[in-house]
Symmetry: C3
Subunit: 337 residues, 3 copies
């Protein structure tokens, strides 16, 4: 894959080599993200951070990643008052706004809209989520996290066992992650969801034809023997009736008791965030906050590294990071933590 | 005209010399805007980008122009929750907010509000549109575009023929552009609009007393022999009745068929944007998108150059651009376009 | 007090030494804020400017202060669409967003929320106002202004006479300021408010036990002989009935006539801003705008200095300001003012 000048629209663009390339550059970003050193390689470049649908953490993560490389950020949030609402085409919006920046990160509620925008854009476009369709940087940061967490336990993605639990039908993140994982070898997928919300057939077919072992179930039972548990939200409105929803309430929850009973002591816990940690949400409870295997905040941290890597690659400066290094003279560690 | 430290509130401030000065500096901005070189002349300066009325493209254009000169941008959008809504005077707002930046770009829905704000401001204020009143940077970018497009065809503003079509009564942009064009010689204006929406008398008087030829009409007929066609939107709500609106529907539209029938093969097509390109809008159709004479996106590009020039002139750094030049090390061209 | 890495959550953290330290650094910030010189000491650092409740002037003041030290700003405004609204805990939000910046300035409508957020944050957090609870940078800028204004008249905080007028019950700023002033010697407080809106007992107790003279009254009478008059807003909805409100209307107003009649010719006039300067507001009138003792805009200016000082101290770069100095090459003074 040729990164320089490319749009990043879908996980389908990535083969094993491209993923290795992104992860290698992401590794190089660690000292900059952790404030050991600075790089000003993109000093003077401008990111157009176009969030036609609000998403605080994804928006700020893209902006921070660009700032950490030395660049500037121009933003727009929401679209109530934008020209699009007055009948402007995405083509026109793209032609105009793409002349205001060197690269664009874009989120939009409509599936396919980011690709449509990219056709009119004069600069590379990175998909920050287009409705139910794709969110490739989330999938890449999830895979990067899995790889790092497993390496920490002297394991690898090849041969691992991952449990995905919750709404596997509408959960965009588990679909994209599954596509990326399909490129690895001998992965065991255990897919735990209500029957109404099970993994779509096309994903199951992809995993099957790639030779992975897939177990589909409606409940956690006995020892899951999993290396990773990837928890997602189940939204009540996905069920036909409140009765259906009530029937499943709590069966797809993860908390300290359930984790201890069904998982290994070092099974890594992931979630795409934000999580609803209120007790009545039955999702992923706060009583796991002190568990060292809870990787959900490391996922968010890794998102910055992945986005930095994609910016550096698409703008063709991944080999120039060290050349523009400077020292960090301030201290951002908390004194009392 | 003395630019350093001046507010830019109205096109009436500009004489021929001032326009020449702005356009000369705008020409110098091309290599920076096109990423051939960088200048950090405003490194450390802060733009207060105060959009009390949302306008994504104008806001981002001002911000980008300031970033391209090396400066930082602090922004505010909308005013629902601002102090103004709690009874604060524009004078107070100006006194406070103007101490947070080196220069201000401001849009506000109320005519005259930007000038009122400028009286309280301690730093120069550039009007980014104050209701029905003025939008001087739009008029300057329109004039700059006309000059550049005509030069491309070995023509000049003196002696040209421009058709303005659509709502000429409420269209702020055509009024301001007409005032600027009045300073040139022997321009032929053809003004095409429904009778209810014709050009105001004061503008007609100005053009007449400056010796220009003005043709007023309600329809396009035969060969228009125009060098420029400047299309604007007609909003249905401007008519007394739906019947009146229906009567005119489609008569002030520009599309491939109408263009080919009535205009010369190289007549330049302009529009202040955003355009409603939905078929039912009857405004400026997408079937002209591939026509090389469609200058609407070049207008938007030129807006950045004009705003960069005004920032450099009002902050007194127009002679220092080259001194703070650095190289551009990234590549923002799309690989596949 | 150890500043490096510390959260700034409450005025209660500050002793006399800490205040001296902040004010000494604030003094050093004057040439940077007044554009005589620049410092790039925080070049590459990122401020997370998290305003979960909108406040244009406080938000922009924090952002500008960080830019003036050379840093970048990533912002969020409002919380309707944020993850918090979807059930995310402040702990989760803090863990995620704090990995996107080097320091955080935060405003939130709920009392105690900023301290709660700070517990989850990995970087220092500065409280930009948490509901009715605290707004420590406002209190510090108020105290800094009092000190500077009095020094201008060869007076000091010790031994001064301050009148506080208006809503002293719900006015967060007068509570915090009183706590800071309590650390000085022999201050005379005259507290003028309707009985329903008088200063809370705990503040009165604090001032009394620190040996200050406190006069409580419901009206201005005769010569007030004050060095400072600190005016706050009375909101009609604070009264039990419209009749009660009407009874007090205008009795806690400050305008030219009242000032001349009751105060000394050089009594300094302060207000936390924004003020409602409409005539019917009966608050602080525009007819005092030309009075040189009106310090309300100098308060806002000083806010930038105080915030710069707190950023430099918490990030441990207060001793490096001069090392990263550069020249200012642009001119931001207005030509005609």
């Amino acid at each position: 894959m040729q990164f320089t000048g490319a749009n990043i629209l879908s996980v389908n663009q990535f083969d094993a080599d491209a993923i290795t390339q992104v992860f290698t550059i992401a590794d190089k970003m660690q000292p900059y993200a952790h404030r050991k050193k600075r790089t000003r390689v993109l000093d003077g470049a401008i990111l157009g951070n176009l969030f036609f649908e609000p998403s605080t953490r994804t928006r700020v993560s893209f902006g921070t990643a660009f700032n950490l490389l030395g660049g500037e950020v121009r933003e727009t949030t929401g679209m109530e008052s934008s020209a699009i609402a007055k009948g402007e085409s995405l083509y026109d919006t793209a032609r105009v706004l793409s002349s205001y920046s060197d690269i664009i990160a874009m989120r939009h509620p409509k599936a396919g809209s980011v690709a449509e925008f990219a056709e009119g854009s004069r600069v590379p476009v990175i998909n920050g989520g287009d409705g139910a369709n794709e969110h490739p940087t989330q999938a890449l940061l999830d895979l990067y996290t899995i790889k790092k967490e497993l390496e920490h336990h002297q394991l690898s993605v090849d041969g691992m066992h991952i449990c995905m639990m919750g709404d596997l039908k509408y959960g965009r993140t588990v679909h994209s992650l599954s596509k990326l994982l399909a490129m690895y070898k001998n992965v065991h997928f255990t897919l735990i969801s209500p029957r109404e919300l099970c993994m779509p057939e096309d994903i199951l077919g992809l995993l099957d034809s790639a030779g992975h072992r897939v177990t589909v179930t409606e409940r956690i039972e006995g020892s899951m023997d999993a290396d990773i548990v990837y928890q997602t939200r189940i939204q009540q409105e996905r069920f036909a009736s409140l009765q259906d929803a009530d029937q499943y309430r709590g069966k797809f929850r993860l908390n300290h008791e359930i984790y201890t009973k069904h998982y290994k002591p070092n099974t890594v816990i992931m979630h795409p965030l934000p999580r609803d940690s209120r007790a009545e949400a039955n999702e992923l409870d706060n009583d796991l906050n002190q568990n060292p295997n809870l990787a959900i905040f490391r996922q968010a941290d890794n998102g910055v590294l992945i986005r930095m890597a994609l910016f550096a690659l698409t703008l063709g400066v991944d080999h120039l990071l060290e050349k523009y290094e400077t020292d960090v003279v301030w201290h951002s560690e908390k004194a009392n933590i």
